[in-house]
């Protein structure tokens, strides 16, 4: 009898401690990814140029390449990724529930998404500066927003897009006629049927849509930008190690472009850094000395892995959105700072 009681108690104790240790085992997301040897990356899967599915079933696009860079930095292999197509509605919940490790799904960085009182995310640096734009037919002669006074503009209703265009025209005291549609496809159809002189949406989407037109050259996207839409990868706000790793991976892409380090010359640059002790900053950046990678939970030479896998930021951009790609979007704000853009990286020190 006493024996049985004892065994029962022991079993119960083991169960309790087992549960307790299970809950105390607060393994960081970063080490979880490394242990799993696979990165689960949430993407849209439905945005031309950013993430879409190729004929062979693989994913491609700017957001996808950013995921690959993260996998190369964290795991050391850009192929060990599981892509999870997500809709706008479920993307934040998927991070909260731990369904995905991180989100690279053109998400606009805003205060309420970043804050602990809001969605409780942490954003990596911006990887694409988008903004709302206007598209007009070339032969209309319209080149600036001022000339759209009293013209009709096709817009998706109930969106921030609609709000933004209203705010812009009001602040300029310009009258205009909004023609509202339910979604982007209808806006495009209305615009092509000539129901309005211009249509408005995010500039990246305008460019994507235009690339599907039969005569894409007959349409121009105006230089005016009506809103800021900085798109950035995001992760759970309570996972600082993962956030650090992501932040410095994006900065590494930008710094590599600054330093002229590309996929093709990375091996030479590493050799150069190893042979010349006086190139201090290059040696730190490539992890030859300084031990910077270890400080953010990565290998010291993580930059080399990243550049080998995806190339620098400029290469990623050109591959997916550059002049010769299927969805050409002028770099504009997405140039690095030395060329007049907004992408700048803090020093690797």
């Amino acid at each position: 009898m006493i024996n049985r009681l004892f065994f029962g108690l022991a079993a119960f104790g083991i169960l309790v401690t087992g549960c307790a240790s299970n809950q105390n085992e607060n393994i960081s997301r970063l080490s979880l990814i490394q242990k799993r040897d696979e990165l689960i990356c949430g993407v849209s899967g439905k945005i031309p140029g950013f993430s879409f599915i190729e004929r062979d079933g693989s994913y491609k696009g700017l957001d996808v390449d950013i995921c690959k860079a993260f996998a190369a930095a964290i795991i050391g292999d850009s192929e060990k990724i599981q892509f999870r197509p997500l809709t706008a509605a479920e993307r934040f919940l998927a991070i909260k529930t731990g369904d995905i490790d991180l989100l690279s799904r053109n998400t606009t960085l805003t205060l309420s998404r970043d804050s602990f009182g809001g969605n409780g995310l942490t954003f990596a640096p911006v990887v694409f500066h988008d903004g709302q734009g206007l598209m007009v037919k070339k032969n209309s002669g319209i080149v600036s927003i001022q000339e759209l006074a009293n013209k009709s503009i096709c817009v998706g209703s109930g969106t921030t897009t609609e709000q933004n265009i209203n705010d812009t025209f009001e602040s300029l005291s310009l009258p205009y006629i909004p023609i509202k549609y339910q979604d982007l496809n209808q806006v495009v159809a209305g615009y092509l049927q000539g129901r309005c002189q211009a249509m408005t949406s995010d500039r990246s989407q305008l460019a994507a849509v235009r690339s599907g037109f039969k005569k894409a050259k007959d349409h121009i996207i105006l230089d005016d930008v009506l809103s800021k839409e900085p798109l950035a990868p995001a992760s759970d706000g309570s996972e600082q190690k993962l956030a650090d790793a992501m932040r410095w991976t994006v900065y590494a892409l930008i710094t590599a472009e600054e330093l002229g380090i590309t996929q093709s010359n990375i091996a030479d640059k590493v050799q150069l850094a190893k042979n010349n002790p006086q190139l201090k900053s290059l040696r730190r950046f490539l992890g030859v000395d300084g031990g910077l990678g270890e400080k953010i939970g990565l290998r010291n030479d993580f930059v080399i892995n990243v550049i080998k896998a995806t190339g620098n930021y400029g290469e990623i951009y050109d591959r997916n959105l550059g002049r010769d790609s299927d969805v050409p979007i002028p770099r504009g704000l997405n140039e690095i700072y030395s060329k007049g853009g907004l992408h700048i990286s803090p020093p690797f020190n």
């Binding site: 599915i53 079933g57 693989s58 197509p85 690339s211």
Partner: protein
């Protein structure tokens, strides 16, 4: 009502008939209708054969069928499709041998584990993660699993709702009423996004399975009501007769009530199942790469931007084909069951 003023009805009817069927107007209407339909058909056909670009369909057939299933393993879903097709064929046109008729039901039930085994791998096959499942394969898998699970649950719920035990009866009515009052999309959202929050740490249900569970919960409530309708159509004296023969409750249910109820409810159940097949397309807005989901991703490929009409016409015809097959099989089953009834 009809007897109050028969003349009025007949007179107005004749007037209308005269107007519509007078020779000249009749011909005129016919002509107009003819011209409109010819021009519609002509425009549609010119679009189909000349103006449209079917490359978006033809060059992505693998994606539509299998999603991103590894190419060297695609014989597995093909084999499964083939087994489904052959059992359908046997059901409809097969010989009327007794052993076939008796074991057909097990054949149908067996296709689901077979499909899961072939897709999932293990036991000698390379394992394939569920995230690689996609396209038509996934659509059919979700449909068939949900059918397999929701039918027994539906029967059970229907019997419980007719139970004389207060608690059981109230619980099952409550479940059925709640499930019918909640929109399907809400149930699916709950399954996809909220179930993981409630599960204990470490326990994880795959998202394909979460979808199947949500569909099962939803459809079984509807099927329960269909079957209850079938049960109610059985005259009470049959039960009394069975009782007098000394059958117990379970025997009455299994040998007398359920077979007849299923036969009566078959058309209504088919309705639900066709609806279920089409509703699986809702999973595309929850990020599963089933037939519609994979199509929307293909449309984002810069190579195929703007070819919505082609893709949606293609999807419509695929869905039409499968729903027609389902309806056809159910019609044949109905005929066979009526013949067996012996009158």
């Amino acid at each position: 009502m009809n007897n109050i003023n028969p003349n009025l009805n007949t007179n107005s009817f004749i007037k209308i008939k005269k107007f519509l069927l007078s020779k000249s107007k009749y011909n005129f209407c016919n002509f107009i209708f003819f011209v409109i339909s010819i021009s519609l058909i002509f425009n549609f056909l010119t679009w189909i054969f000349i103006n449209s670009n079917w490359k978006v369909v033809t060059s992505n057939l693998n994606l539509y069928a299998f999603g991103s299933f590894p190419p060297d393993q695609q014989w597995r879903p093909i084999l499964w499709f083939f087994s489904l097709l052959s059992i359908t064929f046997i059901t409809v046109y097969g010989p009327k041998w007794n052993w076939i008729r008796k074991n057909l039901i097990f054949g149908w039930i067996g296709t689901v584990p077979l499909g899961i085994y072939l897709l999932n791998g293990g036991l000698g096959l390379n394992p394939v993660m569920t995230r690689h499942w996609g396209g038509l394969t996934l659509t059919i898998l979700i449909t068939s699993c949900s059918i397999l699970f929701s039918l027994p649950i539906g029967i059970l719920l229907a019997l419980c709702k007719r139970s004389s035990i207060f608690l059981i009866q109230k619980l099952s009515s409550f479940y059925i009423d709640v499930m019918r009052a909640v929109p399907l999309i809400a149930v699916l959202f709950f399954g996809q996004l909220l179930i993981p929050l409630f599960l204990p740490v470490g326990l994880e249900i795959d998202r394909v399975w979460r979808a199947i569970i949500a569909f099962t919960f939803f459809v079984s409530a509807y099927i329960a009501e269909d079957i209850r309708g079938g049960l109610q159509s059985i005259p009470n004296n049959q039960i009394e007769a069975a009782k007098s023969l000394g059958l117990n409750k379970y025997q009455i249910n299994i040998f007398i009530l359920i077979p007849q109820a299923l036969r009566v409810a078959l058309p209504a159940i088919t309705n639900q199942l066709i609806g279920l097949f089409q509703n699986t397309s809702l999973m595309s807005i929850l990020g599963l790469m089933e037939l519609l989901g994979v199509s929307r991703s293909i449309l984002a490929n810069p190579e195929f931007i703007g070819q919505y009409i082609e893709v949606y016409i293609w999807l419509a015809s695929v869905y039409w084909l499968f729903c027609t097959i389902m309806a056809f099989v159910s019609k044949k089953l109905e005929q066979k069951l009526t013949i067996n009834k012996g009158y």
